[in-house]
Structures are given as structure tokens and as C-alpha cells.
Symmetry: C2
Subunit: 370 residues, 2 copies
DNA sequence: TTGAAAGCGCTAACAG
DNA sequence: CTGTTAGCGCTTTCAA
């Protein structure tokens, strides 16, 4: 036995030795490039089998300057939105024999920068990033400078030229609120994660809706814009107290915002702008012992299974999350393979799924401001 | 400018050139090994900054024979159980500066083998595997032979010496069913993913509960055993029609199994053995328009948020899933760092969380077998 | 303290 | 068709 120490994995050298050929021949036989005589090829294959040889992708990657691995920087894999997104990305990558390294930022931009760095060190072939809130884009520019393809998902980043795959949040929200208005609602509250900053911008100059829209690429902002647009179209004045900001991203915060709101009168409908906000809003209404949709309608976001399990089942905006992930992977891999098309925002359609949590307002919107 | 072509990422050579030192010195200065004069060190650091240099981990990995990356082979990251598990693993790995490659098997052993191979090719430092159903363990043995640490999670694999981190499913199920029996239930159905094979083994020799327990390491099997144990203790004979097998892993299948069961009389309580089965069971009861817990009690598995959102909120067995993941990572990283302790099954405690979906049977279990 | 050179495992260019 | 050799970027002897 001329095999090496045992604990380590066999290399092509070991295979070559055992087959009695040169490393080059062994390589050719196994990786299938160049020509090898049938006899030797067989010998090599046997040796490889016997040793349980697997080519070392590190070495290969180093030569070929590609790792067949992409990095995903998401908020929190535990959030069903990201879980599904990552599944989509995984599937898209698997189709092209590419693996996926997943990292979480918990929506913190500092962590995001670090993760991007780490993945760069690992020489991933490209990155799919759900960008955290923040203004720092230096790390993205570094990526571009070094020629590492980058695809944003769910929303894009101002001033970073890159592809993006997302949903038209403004349009989705607008359609949702249109629907509520069509039902007869006039006092509609939005529960969103929009930051204080976005909110402030808007409150300072409410007429500048369109500007606001371009100012923020975030879904929370876009969805707020859609909400406002729908109201505006219908000639319903927006009201400050109907813009509920969770001010921090958690169902708990959304819950607080909702229950607090109802201490000062009651909107007849609630529109929640993502799955976490929807949980908070739903729990809020339950805690207040309000009947859905009799006392208040609830329109949620993301067609997760639980929204069909609760009573009543929720009317929601459904996003094609798996598809979002798959497409992000596809776009990224095309870039990696050298596509030079102009950068593009790909927008996937959402769908309003009407179930039991929305109905016309029962009382004629008697809002009492205590 | 002596920098290289631009599109590629800078190497230590580029840094060295720009700083006017040798590659070795640049390396020493940056990675902090060996000694470098203060002056040169500064020069090198500047050059590195200017170029946006990141050491190439592939090269480093090749030298050091470790990648600081582990592989996770899970069923389906979209399943909240796995999403949370992977989050736990990620957190555990992050604590020790290790990244995670995630792959899905969809519970298919062929895919599992392939994924293990791929990860081996990438030279991950170790693997955390949620083993798919099946008897093939060759790929695991190959891992062991090549000295790649392996930790099983959620259940272990017979005949594969390796660490495992899991929950005592039999005990958890036993406690759950104990509780139902304590409430006065006598006709308790279990909704599980236990395979036809397990079921057959058991049905062929129902007395061999203990053998069955050791025969299968799967949670579904273990939970079935716990269920049977509880019945036995209480002197309640098990009944074939109360063992509902989803025969395929999906909420849809569980749903069918449940609704079919109620065509031939009605058990007074249902025990579902994981989160997917719980969804199917819950939907089944709703479709049958049975009142929970008045007509039938439901005891689910996994304390996911939705179980608190539905009406009534579900009594569940809660598993420390995040902790499971964290510990799996820890155990694996200890192995990677050379721990030579005997292999061990670590068992984390579950907790029965009583909420509104369980109560004593209303009618005195008048089961009518049509 | 610094530099030169070898080597991790692979592939590719070049000889034979 | 097969073998020799060089080199991917890094770390680590070994000399100077």
C-alpha cells in the first residue's frame, strides 16, 4: 500500500500512484479532458473507486478562478420569507451545479459588510444580497470594482449599479388598498416597517409622494407609497395616525403599534406590509378582542400557510417568493457566465388573494378621537 | 501602476509589488504571523487598503487543509423546522468564524449522497446531516474513513458511529399522550410520518415495542413508540385504525389520512408528530367541521408561531430547535478541532405547552364503527 | 528582519 | 497517447 496517512483525503497523486500512471493521465481520465487510452482509463477509474477519490475543488477552483459557489446575504433565514427565498435560490443554483453559502445580517448593515467581506474572501462567484437599511454602499462598490457579480433581491440600492429581482411593492400595496377602499373603507391604517426617516420625509412634504418613491428603494417605503397613492386616487386624505410604524422590525413592535392605535379611535381596516407585520397586526386585533372582519378588516402580506389556518383566513397580497429566489439565482449565474446586458430591475407580479378577513365596514366609520 | 488587469481581485503579489516588498513580507504583515518591521508593515497595510485586498481563502485553505466552512444537509430549508435549525447552526458556526453551505435533500437519500459528495469535494471541514430515510450508509462511512467529522441532527443512523444531537422523541410523545390520557381520552389517534415499513414491523409483532424502538432511530418511529408506551402503561389497547400514517411527507397526505379516519368513527384526540403533520391534522379537523377541543382534542408538535395564532391556540410539544442547531454546530466544531471523546447522542429536553386545543372528551368516547 | 523557494492539488501547455 | 513541468495564491521553512 503506497496510500498516504489514511486520515487525509486521497489526492490525484494517490490515484495515479495506485494506477501506475502519471498525475496528468489520472487527471485526464477522471475529469474527462484530453485523451486517455481505454486501458489506462479503466485502471485509473478503478484506483479512484478503491480510494474513494473526490477531486479537491479548492485546487480546481484556484486554477479555474471560479468556485461554483455563490453567497447569499439575507436578513434572517428563520423568517419564512427568507427561508423560502433561499430555497428558491438553492433550486436555481442547483440547476446549474452551484452551491450556496447562506449568511444572516439580522438587518444590520455592519454585519452585512462583514459578511460580504467574508464571502469575498471565500471567492464566491457572485452574491445575492437582501440589502439592510443603511447608506453605506462602499462594500457593494468594492464588489463591482473587483468584478464580482451582485444581484439585489427584494429591493435595490440607490447608486449601486446592479441587477435586482423584486416585486413592485408600490403597485401591490396600491392594489390592496384600492380593494379596501372599494369595499367602502375610508379609515385605513397601514402597519409597516418604514423607518422614522422615511416617515419624516413624507410627513414633511406629503405632496412629494413621487419623490419619496424614488428616494427609497425599500419595500417598506414603496408599500407606503402605494398606500398613499391609493388614498390620493380616491380623494381620501391621509391621516398621520393611520400610518403605524413598527419602528424596529418585529411582530412585537407591530403588535404594540396596533394596540396603541386603537386606544385613540379605530380605523375600519388594517393593511400590513409584510409577514412579520401581519403577525403583529393579527395578534393585536385578537388581543383587543376585535372581530375580523366585522369590527375591522385585515389585509396581510405574504401567502404563508398560517394565513389560511387562522380564523378567519386572511386576505393577503401573495408574492412569488420562490420564483424571486430562482430568478435571482438565474440572473446572477448569467452574469457569472459573462452576460453583459444592461443592469435591470426585474419585477415579478403579486396577487391579491381575497379570503375572509376583509369585508365592508359595518359601522359608518364612526371614529371617535378620545 | 503595476496593478493587474483590474477585473480580477488583487493578490498578495499585487500588494507586495505596490509596497515594494517581497510576497513573504506582505503575507507576514497582513496575516500577522512572523515579524515585520514597523515601517514595512505600514507600507504593506496601506497598499492593501488601497487595493481593497482580501486574502484568498482558497489558497489559504489549501495550505492549511481546512476551509472554515461546514456543510449542512437538511431536508428542506423552507420547512420552518429546518429554517430554525439552520439558523441555530449558523449562529453556532458564526461564533467560531465558520461559514455554512446549505443543501436540501427533500428527504431523498440519493440526493443526500450526492450532496455529501459535493460537499466533500468542496472540502468542508465537517458535515451536519439530517439523514433521509433509507438504508444506504456507504456515504457516511466514506466520510468517516476520510476523517471528515459528521454530526447527525434530529435523529441518528444505525451502524454509523457519529455524534448526534436530538430530542428524545419517544419520551416527548409519551408525555404528550400521557397528558391526553390524563384528560380522560381513550381513543387517541397518532398522525405520523412513520413509514409503512415501521408500521408493518410493529403490526407484525406489537409486543416488541422495545425492539422497535431500537430498530429505528427516526423521530417518526420514536414518537410512535412513545405513543404506544403511554397507551400500554395506561392499559389501553392500541388500535390499528388509530395509527394514521401520512405515507409520504406532506401536510396534504396527513390531511387525507385524518379525514379518512373520521369516516369510520371518531377518536376523541389526535396527536400529530411534527409541524407538517400538525398542519395537516388541523386542516383536516377544520374541513370536517369538528370543534376543537369540544369534538376532538388536538395535540401538535413544534411551537411555531402560527400554533398560537389559530383558534383555539394549539397545545404542542415544543422542541428547542435553535438550540439543537447551535449544539450540533458546537459538537461538530469541537470534533474538527480534534476532540476525541467517545461518540455521543446528546438529547435536549422538550416541553409540553398546554393551550386551548386539548380538553377532556365531551362524549364518553362513543365510537361507532360504521 | 527580510527574501527566496517549495509545496498544498489541480489543470494545461508542451514535449516526446 | 502519455509524461513533465509550471503555476493558481498562500504559508512556511531555510538562508541571508
Amino acid at each position: 500500500m503506497t496510500d498516504r496517512a489514511g486520515s487525509s483525503q486521497p489526492t490525484i497523486r494517490d490515484v495515479a500512484l495506485r494506477a501506475g500512471v502519471s498525475r496528468a493521465t489520472a487527471g485526464r481520465a477522471l475529469a474527462g479532458y484530453g485523451n486517455v487510452g481505454e486501458e489506462l482509463r479503466l485502471k485509473v477509474e478503478n484506483a479512484s473507486q478503491e480510494l474513494g477519490y473526490r477531486p479537491n475543488d479548492l485546487a480546481r477552483s484556484m486554477r479555474e478562478n471560479r468556485t461554483r459557489t455563490i453567497g447569499v446575504v439575507c436578513g434572517d433565514i428563520e423568517n419564512p420569507f427568507f427561508a423560502r427565498l433561499v430555497r428558491g435560490i438553492s433550486d436555481g443554483a442547483a440547476l446549474r451545479d452551484v452551491e450556496v453559502i447562506v449568511t444572516n445580517t439580522d438587518e444590520d448593515q455592519l454585519r452585512e459588510q462583514k459578511k460580504v467581506d467574508v464571502l469575498l474572501g471565500k471567492r464566491v462567484d457572485g452574491l445575492i444580497v437582501y440589502p439592510a437599511r443603511g447608506n453605506n454602499i462602499e462594500h457593494f462598490h468594492r464588489l463591482k470594482r473587483q468584478g464580482v457579480p451582485l444581484v439585489f433581491v427584494d429591493h435595490s440600492m440607490r447608486n449601486v449599479p446592479a441587477d435586482a429581482v423584486m416585486v413592485d411593492g408600490a403597485r401591490a400595496a396600491e392594489a390592496a388598498v384600492d380593494y379596501l377602499i372599494g369595499l367602502g373603507h375610508e379609515s385605513i391604517a397601514i402597519v409597516s416597517e418604514a423607518s422614522r426617516a422615511t416617515e419624516a420625509t413624507f410627513l414633511a412634504d406629503p405632496e412629494a409622494i413621487h419623490d419619496l418613491e424614488t428616494a427609497t428603494q425599500r419595500q417598506s417605503g414603496a408599500r407606503l407609497v402605494g398606500y398613499l397613492r391609493a388614498l390620493q386616487k380616491a380623494g381620501i386624505p391621509w391621516r398621520r395616525e393611520n400610518i403605524l410604524s413598527s419602528d424596529g422590525y418585529s411582530a412585537e413592535r407591530a403588535f404594540s403599534a396596533v394596540t396603541k392605535r386603537f386606544q385613540h379611535g379605530a380605523p375600519s381596516a388594517l393593511f400590513a406590509t409584510d409577514n412579520v407585520m401581519t403577525i403583529g397586526a393579527f395578534r393585536g386585533l385578537k388581543a383587543l378582542e376585535l372581530a375580523i372582519p366585522d369590527d375591522v378588516s385585515l389585509l396581510g402580506f405574504d401567502d404563508l400557510e398560517w394565513t389560511r389556518l387562522v380564523t378567519p383566513p386572511l386576505t393577503v397580497v401573495s408574492q412569488p417568493v420562490l420564483e424571486l429566489g430562482r430568478m435571482a439565482a438565474e440572473v446572477l449565474l448569467d452574469r457569472i457566465d459573462g452576460s453583459t446586458d444592461a443592469f435591470m430591475n426585474r419585477t415579478l407580479p403579486t396577487e391579491l388573494i381575497v379570503r375572509g378577513s376583509t369585508a365592508g365596514p359595518r359601522r359608518s366609520a364612526t371614529e371617535v378621537t378620545a
